[in-house]
């Protein structure tokens, strides 16, 4: 037994992960899961408009994001990447500011639905709801890094459905041509909302497509935190060393419906979901840490309670945070010059220059005449 523990400790030490790192990763995963649970609770209370659950993906998200340098490398996530963004430096408080659409929500100040992550200070790149549009952006950022001779790396996360988009192909192709410092991480949960993998692609694995772009692709068990981290670390090292991109496919499962507005009972059986939960990455990673002697049942419970207290506190704090000023909805259409209160033409959504005359009331009439 002692030898086995030693061997497997050697595994994470070989990956430059200390015992504390493992515990911190575990804590991060638990926090993400608890944020999910709190969001669903708030949704049922009518306080959270919309939830994009992460449950099931925490393992591959934390494991892959952990291989990047916080604040130095670029994180280009998609909407299910709460655990990626927590690893990149967002806090549960930030998450709930977004859930409630509060003024100080770092992602969008309440302009986007929850889970459309962004924070420039953390190099978390703003994303939209259309799928895979972030892929060419990640390639462009990686190109700029290469052009500047910097040693930063870009990682972009996406689901299996995103791989069907033209932008996905175009972005990966561009990154292959220029051997850009980027890692493409597919969180393959076998469903794009309801559409199963078999109707999304004729190949078995997304990673097979990498060869078409001239760089390596690898499929790993997305519920095995150390395996994901190991593969990601290899890919990040390759990117940082100038050896070009890697396509990493993490096989995982989403435990909840696509969003709070989805009903997954219409397209997958309860048995299938229950079966998948036996491979819950938090459960598996917890067991691994117990085997390592880093955790036991009591400490797991204590850690969970600690995280839950923190999450509940953050929910309350965020709920009581100030709402955005209604007038601010028209700000930031274009760069603001001069006055901080914004000078956009409200009636025309900021696309028109404001003429000296006619006066505003007349202009409103005119716009009505436009039939808008």
């Amino acid at each position: 037994m002692a030898t086995r523990v030693k061997e497997s400790r050697a595994r994470h030490r070989r990956l430059d992960l200390s015992d504390d790192d493992l515990l911190a990763m575990y804590r991060m995963m638990v926090t993400a899961r608890l944020c999910d649970e709190a969001q669903f609770r708030l949704n049922r209370q009518g306080k959270a408009p919309f939830v994009v659950p992460v449950s099931g993906h925490e393992g591959c998200q934390v494991a892959t994001a952990w291989a990047l340098r916080r604040g130095h490398d670029y994180f280009v996530p998609y909407y299910r990447d709460m655990a990626v963004c927590l690893t990149a430096g967002l806090t549960p408080h930030d998450v709930f500011l977004g859930v409630f659409g509060k003024r100080d929500d770092p992602s969008s100040g309440g302009r986007q639905m929850p889970a459309h992550w962004s924070a420039r200070r953390l190099n978390i790149v703003t994303g939209s709801s259309p799928i895979a549009t972030q892929i060419p952006h990640a390639a462009g950022i990686a190109y700029a890094i290469k052009y500047r001779g910097a040693d930063a790396v870009v990682a972009s996360w996406f689901g299996d459905g995103a791989t069907s988009e033209g932008d996905w192909h175009e972005g990966l192709n561009f990154s292959g041509i220029h051997r850009l410092p980027v890692v493409w991480v597919c969180e393959n949960n076998r469903y794009a909302i309801s559409v199963p993998l078999s109707k999304q692609m004729a190949v078995e694995h997304v990673s097979e497509r990498a060869s078409a772009y001239g760089f390596p692709g690898e499929t790993v068990d997305g519920n095995d935190v150390l395996a994901c981290h190991e593969a990601m670390k290899r890919a990040v090292d390759r990117a940082r060393n100038g050896d070009g991109p890697t396509l990493l496919e993490c096989m995982t499962y989403r435990f909840h419906p696509h969003t709070s507005d989805d009903d997954d009972r219409t397209y997958r059986s309860r048995e299938e979901v229950e079966e998948a939960k036996r491979n819950d990455p938090i459960l598996l990673f917890g067991n691994h840490l117990k085997q390592q002697g880093l955790l036991d049942d009591e400490r797991v419970e204590a850690l969970r309670a600690e995280c839950k207290t923190l999450v509940d506190q953050e929910v309350d704090r965020a709920w009581n945070a100030p709402d955005p000023e209604p007038e601010s909805a028209m700000r930031h259409v274009f760069a603001e010059t001069g006055a901080e209160d914004g000078d956009e033409d409200l009636e025309s959504h900021g696309t028109e220059a404001v003429p000296a005359e006619p006066p505003r009331a007349d202009r409103a009439e005119e716009e009505e005449g436009d039939g808008r």
Binding site: S118, H137, H332, G350
Partner: protein
Amino acid sequence: MTEKNVVQTIHDTLQEEMQADDRVLVLGEDVGARGGVFRVTAGFLEEFGEMRVIDTPLAESSIVGVAIGMAMHGLLPVAEIQFADFIHPAFDQIVSEAARIRYRSNGDWSCPMVIRAPWGGGVHGALYHSQSIEAFYGHVPGIKVVVPSTPYDAKGMLRAAIRDPDPVLYLEHKKTYRLIKGEVPDEPYEVPIGVADVKREGEDLTVVTYGLMLHLCLEAAERLQQEEGLSAEVVDVRTIAPLDKATILDSVRKTAKAMVVYEDRRHHRRGADVRARRPHRSLRRPGHPGDAVRHPARAPVHARHRPHLREDARAGEVLSEELPMSDQSRDGADTEPASTPEPASTDGERYQSGMTAGAVLLTVFAPFIALVAALIMLGSERSPVRRAFLRTWAWWSGGVLVVGTIIAISLFAAIASGTNTDEKGPCVGGPKLGAPGVQVGPHRYRFPCEISGSTVVRLP
């Protein structure tokens, strides 16, 4: 000062910008060894190297998407779309991404980039190398759309676009590339985005235009001056969005007549928007002979392929032809009534004449009917007079019924065929040509897309 054509000016300006700032780089199809299909980036690959002059794969969405990523990292990319007709695969990247990045991140991220695209007709480009695309993007908050049409503006606006903190769609009319020459200052300068320019001062008519049409209008205005003694003011819009309403309104206030000339369809396009704005209350001067906004002319981009069109057409017709006016009071009760008779054959006129005819009929026949009724009521049962009147009345009423029905049907048909479908635009008129096409002399030409209006201009 150096005399240059438009394409040379864009080349030189881009070259100077790249020399001055290493954040500026170009990417697009064939921009490298080929130097661009219009030679805008000729010699750039040798001067700036592969890293700054990027021959991209043939994939427009990623040309824009990759440029967005570069811009978010702090570079100033100038992306080239080879022909504006091919820009639509990138629609989502332009509209949902570039134009939204600042807004959706609450001002945290920004996307300072330029997308260059050659547009417009007149270069044997037929359908897919001639189209106007500015209206699609001009409606999108968050992106600026500019259309410089002279070498001077091309330089100043390209500098301004590269320095702009937001994405700018920089449209170059490809017919002007080598056709239009002008003096360009050698020193750097900027022409501000969002400011229209009065290219020719005048008193009698305002012509609002951009692109190649600017030059046709200037030529036409000159002829109008010489042949008719009328002076037209020509306003070059220069920026499609944000639109400089103030300059346009000022000019129309001065002349009280406006015409919009552009290369696109009449409805739902940028010129239509300009048009819809102008008949504002503050502009209407009761009693002014030209108290109406005239319908727009447009140039048939396909005319290059139809030589008879070119031969038959005259540029001067754009301005000198007596264009029909529209029903200006359609847009609301607050409008002062028109105090001048309008020329026949507009929709409003047809409608009005229909109403008048109805009123006349009623006025003429009502006393007769009343008289007949009175005589019948007054006469005795067996009176031959009454019988005669009854017979006559039957014939009369039958006749009136038949004639009335015929008149009503023909009136209805006239109104229906002449009814302008653009109910939103308060001031739209012009002869309805039925199916898309144009009548020139005895010939009728159909076009693959809707082209409205009746005026044909000669392409140089």
